[in-house]
Amino acid sequence: MSKAAVVESSLPPDEVIDLKDPLVAAILAWLVPGMGHFYQGRTRKGVLFMVTILGTFFYGLFISEGRAVYASWVDGDKRLPYLCQVCVGLPALPALVQTYLVRNGREPLFGGVMSPPVDVAALNDLWKRLNRQLDLGTVYTMVAGLLNVLAIYDAYGGPVRLEPHEESPRKKEDDEPAESSGG
């Protein structure tokens, strides 16, 4: 329990959040969106993150026929979007297995879902065939990954809050006139 963290500053008593072990929660949140919140007992937020983030990710994958997510770092096809997509965690990791298989001359699994094009000609064919679907799928899956970064942060540190009764500087001066005017 020594590692446990509790967010309670400026919260009403019924909103005190037990973050348990924030590091474990963050890792779980990365592996499966929402899982970190389930671990902390924040079930509703876990469901919200899971449905929205995984829904966005898999919809992007669906409209691109499973080809928007792949890992590639060869000349002519450096797949930078994967750096965002991998933030979704486990759902994006099969791309690494597919890349390993394809680069070693073996057939990809699952009918080629998340597998990289074998060469530049195959990449061009992919773009010709899917065109804007590949773009849209890439955007959706990238956004899903970036949203999960927010969810990971929420699992680690709790919600980012504005002060509930944020006072203007002028009002604060009115409340404490003696200290500042003493000279």
Partner: protein
């Protein structure tokens, strides 16, 4: 087709932005609140702002492309 009508030809593509706006609004709002009620209120407000902002940009670009 009249140049002013060209953006309408892309209007079906714009529908793809709606699920993204909903997802972004919900997730962002959920990182600011803990209870469902304030999350949904914040998400509705944020989603509306995003739609209005994007509509303003769309109108600006459409007018610009019409005049150029």
């Amino acid at each position: 087709m009249h140049p002013m009508l060209l953006p309408l030809a892309q209007v079906n593509l714009m529908w793809y932005s709606l699920p993204l706006i909903v997802a972004i609004s919900l997730v962002y709002s959920a990182t600011r609140h803990e209870q469902m009620q304030p999350i949904l209120v914040h998400a509705a407000r944020l989603g509306t702002m995003i739609v209005l902002f994007m509509t303003a940009i769309l109108i600006g670009l459409a007018l610009l492309s019409w005049w150029l």
